[in-house]
Symmetry: C2
Subunit: 141 residues, 2 copies
């Protein structure tokens, strides 16, 4: 399973909210126009970020605001909010190796050991980048 475009859309939304969330009412309709994605997808993404405590949404009347400092919003947190346990789904494993073959019998165990290290490395990589760096990048473009 891959890291979907939802991650990119989420970052897009967070930049937008960080820039405009205090000044005007940021609705899913507005984010939909800016990202070029349909409003339901936006609402699902925003909903996931809300559950993670990253932002808050004004119910009923609409509008979105960030809920914690930029440096605490890491890419890891975003990805995990969008898809829990996304790391374990990163590299697909074939499901039907032959149990009669010495290799087939043990392949899952071998792969899991090796992949665990990759998951760890990717996790720290994603934790090392937060919306703070991304906003800095955006502002100095």
């Amino acid at each position: 399973m891959h890291i979907s475009t939802k991650c990119s859309i989420a970052i897009h939304c967070l930049i937008f909210i960080s820039e405009y969330g205090e000044k005007r009412k940021v609705t899913s309709e507005l984010l939909s126009l800016s990202t070029g994605t349909n409003p339901v997808t936006i609402r699902n993404i925003i909903s996931a970020l809300k559950k993670e405590g990253i932002l808050s949404v004004k119910f009923g009347t609409g509008g979105t605001k960030l809920n914690c400092p930029l440096n605490e919003i890491t890419l890891y947190r975003i990805c995990n909010a969008l898809e829990p346990n996304f790391l374990t789904k990163l590299i697909g494993i074939h499901s039907m190796p032959s149990p009669l073959c010495p290799v087939g019998k043990n392949i899952h165990s071998v792969l899991n050991t090796s992949y665990a290290k990759i998951h760890e490395d990717l996790r720290s990589s994603l934790q090392s980048i937060s919306m703070k760096e991304i906003m800095d990048n955006y502002n100095h473009l």
Copy 2:
């Protein structure tokens, strides 16, 4: 785009070839049985690994042998053989942000900068694991 199960199947095949490639004729049919994948997929994977110089295939009569030392066969090399530039396809980016919006106009550039670091980190992670470690792991199971 994700790292597909082809990577796991490739590792499975390489373990099998490493164990049995010298003793018996390892055909796509045999690998197909061991992995539980159809022979055409196996042949495509083996073909990609061959182009990378990782193994060699005896044409006509069949049979596969490793072509270089285990420690030179890194996961990065395997993934790249299976799908060139797989890193740039790892995290999807939404294709239609609004060019009228300040965020939409610049999002691709911002994302590419941030994602480049992740690609680098993942690359070194994948380069740090080779078939040598995997075979050691397999043998000490």
